[in-house]
């Protein structure tokens, strides 16, 4: 059963940036780009590094360890050293908060 949960306040994330959100033993990455929000699993599919220390460039998150890149809109792995796509989650802004749909 999927549910919308509050991840953070919209203003907690700078534009073109990423924030870590932990919930129920799982870690997520919440992105803001061009005042839209996106969400994905928080760990790189390559070596399980937290993406929250990475760099958001347009719609791409780059892993801080090996510079693997994913499209934050659909989780597509954009080339070596990442080969496995990132799981993404629906995200929206509601009442000044960022909500993500999980489950």
């Amino acid at each position: 059963m999927s549910e919308w949960i509050t991840a953070c306040a919209f203003d907690d994330i700078d534009d073109e940036d990423v924030l870590r959100f932990d919930h129920a033993g799982h870690t997520y990455a919440i992105y803001r780009y061009d005042d839209k929000v996106y969400a994905s699993d928080g760990l790189c599919t390559h070596e399980k590094v937290h993406l929250c220390d990475g760099l958001v460039m347009e719609h791409v998150i780059e892993c801080p360890k090996h510079n693997g890149r994913f499209d934050i809109r659909d989780g597509r792995a954009l080339g070596a050293p990442v080969c496995v796509n990132l799981t993404t989650y629906p995200a929206k802004v509601d009442g000044g908060n960022v909500l993500i749909q999980i489950g």
Binding site: H46, E47, K65
Partner: protein, 368 residues
Amino acid sequence: MNPATATPPAQPRTRADYQLLGGAGARAAEAKLVNAEWYKCPVPRPLMKGLMQRDDAHAIRDTVLWYALIVGTGAVFVYGWTAGWSAAALFAVYFVYATLYSSPADSRWHESSHGTAFKTRWMNDVLYQCASFQVLRRPTRWRWSHARHHTDTLVTGRDPEIAVPVPVDVVSTLLNLFALLNGPKELLAVLRNAAGSIAADEKSFVPEMEWPRMVREARLWMLVYVALIGSALVLQSWLPVLLVGLLPGMLGAWLFNYTGFTQHAGLPENVLDHRLNCRTVYMNPVLRFLYWNMNYHVEHHMFPMVPYHQLPQLHATIKADCPPPYASSIAAYREILPAMWRQITDPNHYVQRPLPTHASAPTSAQSA
């Protein structure tokens, strides 16, 4: 506990420990050294975001200048060859040409493998392929070995890029200053990959989905070498094989070995703190151009997303939390050479880097 002064290695070190299959990797995993959490100097996120920003301008300028130098010295060599210069004069020019052809290719290969040279992705990819060929490294194989090097830096049995394993083999080390062993070995590996064979140890760090790419790249390299040899035969001239491929790649390797040895040689394996197993060495502007600022090696390993042209600023940001940098490459070698000499007979010897007394405590580390 300072990892450099932590428990000495549990077992005597041998060269077999460095094998990726059947080496010390399993012990490293038991000791939680594999894909571990490494110490990072604290840098405020807004500052780090600024340092990580990419652009194309720096690398376009530096790449155009680099290739202009290669073409320029190559043209002088061809002129001297056809004009009948003396062997000594020709060798001097060729030595400069080969050095420019090969050694900066090491740092360009490296920076573009991280995707931090240019902001534009395809520019990184083009430079990566060209530099890989020049420095005699199979592109996909070395992209993945370098990823492992960053995951498990100097972890025995895990890191495929430990330049000076212990006990130090003096003969191999000296021969490889000019890639006399590694160059031909790499070309044999190209032949093997071109025939469709991937070595077992390569399979341990290159994902299976990348193996076909390794084969395709090896076959492309073969075509280039066939074209070079063919043109030499058609032209009845040594020039094509002197200007491109194995020979300049090997002769010019000395400088990237000179700068590259400062990165880790003599420093401890199996610690989880780049301040202890990497060196930051001040170098002059010429070396820094040729080496693309990889002398800031602690900084690079700790924050590999920061482009080469931002590393001096990153160094200024974190240097209070790091061991003192070396004043020059000469100063670094005053430490490296005695350490390597001792490691010939004492593989448990290493150099202890002093952390600032106020430095943040490193994460746990153990010997494997």
